[in-house]
């Protein structure tokens, strides 16, 4: 016990002895746990200082632009370009758990309070309320003890961190910037956490049929109602002790607003800003728009507002954007699958000649882009693309002429079923065609029988014959809805969203930071849910379903789909 009590003394003494070193960076000496007041940090304006700290935390780069340097496992030097704080502690700083190694939180709120061995998430006040008295494992960090920890791995109680926590070589001004960032990281709950309620919203763009709206809203509202009803009475103690985890206070009621947009997409950002200002939401759940999701995606990036699994097949495709978590890349991913599949069939010196015929619509263009970019990534030469004016079906004579002139091995026909009559041109040669299952929709099985052996379909879902048993459970949230329309997959996707959200809310615990919600989804195990063969996650992974099947349409008037490929992922 006396050893424990000596610790605060030690850190105070250390602080005194080292005050000299820290004079150069006055902001570092501010009291622990308080976000820094306006002014300067290490001589820099606050915003500037935060941006530089963020770059250290997320990208491992020093203010000079050089990589940070550190040592792991005792003597293994690492440059910040390899990994950064956020690789292990994640973007919101709440840490991670992997293979028995716990990466402790390093956010402002947690660093400012003591850490306990047992029930480490409770603040001292919550501990008193719940009458839990565990000996503290370490005191709150001061800026000095934090700097010491980051350099040496030793915390203020004398505990040496596991050797996977890097020991950083940082100058005092750089250290001041990093600590300033940590002090401000996840320090106050995000907007949308109001009293005992976690507020969400969903977006409905103009042009969505009433039936499609209900297919999303009914399961979402049913989930919210059940959550609130089931948990009533448990209140704050709802999660205490679940699976050995203390989550007291993690429970919140849920509320869902519906934000209905009107007018053209250029006007949506202003409408969304107004909705958000009026009813601050913690995150968007689902949402549905007939066209491209990009205007809403961009709004979420700008507002730093998570959007979970919108019902769209026209997502914004980006490697780096953070806030929208999609089910898949939609049409883009089908084009991608065609490229991967064809590339996989070819020898190292391919002679395949490919043409893209693209309907002039967002869907057609997304398919073509997915093919084009993936084909290039695979090291293949660009293929000719022809844009087909929308509303003007591909004519038989035009396709015949094209095939005769170009003699392609493969045509990618990114158009809907209006092109069916023209497909007869294929039967005169050996050219194979690719069509998109999404674009064909319910017409898929009406593909003219004579060309079925020459047509390949990019198919983004689980095999239909296996689907029923996965989608069955989705019906549990459909109370109040007469029937679900399997073709739109709206209610099944909403069901999948709810399953992932439920887990994420548990994992988020009481750390109500928007980035933490996304971090927790990033740490979820693979999920086997309706529609998609597999949903997989990882920090920063934003398209949960990554593959497609290649199918052919079987014979007969009500044909089944014949699977022609593995799940195409490479």
């Amino acid at each position: 016990m006396s050893g424990w009590r000596a610790v605060p003394l030690l850190s105070r003494a250390l602080a005194g002895a080292l005050g000299l070193l820290l004079l150069a960076a006055p902001a570092v000496a501010a009291p622990p746990g308080k976000p820094k007041p306006a002014g300067t940090v290490a001589g820099l304006p606050v915003d500037n200082a935060l941006a530089l700290g963020e770059r250290m935390y997320r990208l491992g780069l020093l203010p000079s632009g050089e990589p940070m340097s550190s040592v792991v496992n005792g003597d293994v030097p690492v440059a910040g370009t390899a990994f950064s704080c956020s690789s292990c502690h994640l973007r919101a700083g709440l840490g991670s758990w992997e293979g028995g190694i716990v990466t402790l939180p390093t956010n402002g709120a947690r660093l400012a309070i003591p850490r306990y061995w047992k029930f480490p998430n409770l603040s001292p006040e919550e501990r008193r309320e719940l009458k839990l008295q565990n000996p503290a494992a370490r005191p709150a960090y001061t800026d000095e003890t934090l700097a010491h920890l980051l350099r040496t791995g030793r915390d203020p109680s004398g505990y040496d961190m596991h050797s996977v926590m890097p020991r950083y070589d940082l100058s005092d001004p750089d250290m001041a910037l990093l600590i300033n960032y940590l002090r401000n990281l996840s320090v106050r709950p995000s907007p949308g956490v109001v009293g005992d309620t976690l507020r969400f919203a969903t977006v409905i763009a103009p042009g969505v049929s009433e039936e499609d709206q209900q297919a999303m809203l009914v399961p979402l509202n049913n989930y919210v109602a059940r959550h609130n009803q089931f948990s009533a009475g448990f209140g704050n103690r709802m999660y205490l002790g679940v699976g050995g985890n203390e989550m007291s206070g993690a429970y919140r009621k849920l509320a869902l607003s519906v934000w209905r947009l009107s007018g053209p997409p250029e006007t949506w950002p202003a409408q969304l800003d107004a909705f958000l200002a009026k009813e601050p939401a913690f995150a968007l759940l689902g949402g549905i728009a007939p066209g491209e999701w990009k205007p809403i995606h961009d709004f979420c990036e700008r507002a730093k507002l998570p959007c979970l699994f919108p019902i769209t097949d026209l997502p914004a495709v980006s490697d780096t954007d953070w806030y929208t978590q999609y089910f898949s890349k939609g049409y883009y991913q089908e084009g991608q699958a065609a490229a991967r599949y064809l590339h996989g069939l070819d020898d190292p010196n391919p002679t395949r000649k490919v043409l893209q015929l693209v309907q002039d619509s967002p869907e057609g263009k997304a398919l073509a882009q997915g093919f084009r970019e993936t084909w290039a990534e695979l090291g293949r030469a660009a293929v000719p693309e022809t844009l087909l004016p929308e509303g003007k079906p591909l004519a038989l004579a035009a396709l015949e002429e094209l095939l005769a002139r170009e003699k392609p091995s493969t045509v990618l026909l990114w158009t809907g079923s209006s092109a069916f009559p023209a497909l007869a041109a294929l039967t005169q040669g050996a050219t194979g065609a690719f069509l998109s299952a999404r674009l064909l929709g319910g017409q898929l099985t009406n593909l003219p029988e004579p060309v079925r052996s020459q047509v390949w379909i990019t198919y983004p879902y689980r095999e239909p014959k296996l689907e029923a048993k996965y989608s069955l459970y989705a019906d549990t949230l459909l109370g109040g809805l007469k029937q679900r329309n399997p073709e739109t997959r709206i209610s099944t996707r909403t069901y999948a969203l709810v399953q992932i959200l439920r887990q994420a809310l548990m994992d988020m615990d009481r750390h109500f930071y928007r980035d933490n919600l996304l971090d927790r989804i990033g740490m979820q195990r693979d999920q086997i849910l309706p529609d998609y063969l597999r949903l997989s996650f990882g920090p920063g992974q934003r398209y949960a379903s990554k593959g497609c099947f290649i199918m052919q349409v079987g014979p007969g008037p009500s044909p089944s789909l014949l699977r022609k490929s593995e799940w195409v992922i490479h």
């Binding site: 006396s2 050893g3 000596a6 610790v7 030690l10 003494a13 250390l14 002895a17 080292l18 070193l21 040592v71 792991v72 496992n73 005792g74 003597d75 293994v76 690492v78 440059a79 390899a82 990994f83 690789s87 292990c88 994640l90 991670s96 758990w97 992997e98 293979g99 028995g100 190694i101 990466t103 010491h148 350099r151 040496t152 791995g153 030793r154 004398g158 596991h162 050797s163 996977v164 890097p166 020991r167 950083y168 070589d169 990534e377 695979l378 990033g522 740490m523 195990r525 693979d526 997989s536 990882g538 920090p539 920063g540 992974q541 990554k546 593959g547 593995e566 799940w567 992922i569 490479h570």
Partner: protein, 192 residues
Amino acid sequence: MRRNPWATLLTTASLWLSGSGFLAAQAPPPYSRTLETYTVPEVVLVNQDGAKVKLKTLLDSGEPVILDFIFGTCTTICPVLSAGYANLQTKLAATPSKVHLVSVSIDPENDTPKVMRDYLKRYRAKPGWDFLTGRREDIDKVMNAFNAYIPNKMSHYPLTLIRDPKTGKWIRIYGMMSSSEFVAECRKAGIL
């Protein structure tokens, strides 16, 4: 036991004030080491350049080989394993040894050749370190063959396998190694 805070303070402060104020980190906790016989499955995987690779040919070539299991977006464990690989490559550059480092993805859905190329670049990997992905069934076969199967990539654990080229046996290392321990293990396996 009562610690003397002043003694601790003095040592700590003097270390701080000397040089860069940067302490060498503690060595990782001890790892476990066993000798195993594995049968490499007949699978074709894809490397970071998109080239098809017969795993058996690669691993059973008689050349010195080290194998681990990682994925592109993994937290904590893979960064540290990969830092170990990168560091070993730097050390080996000064020796005639031609050790082939192989990392097999356990997240084949996300780890495309492009993701793997970017990953290797982050670690400044030199030629001789290949990152392999493949069909999920094949990846499962590889994990099973090395007694490393995990149904959930998030419960991944640190494992390094060093093949002794003379006996064809594998040294199985469970846990994290420091750079000097890694080099010592390579020596013991006769590949350095």
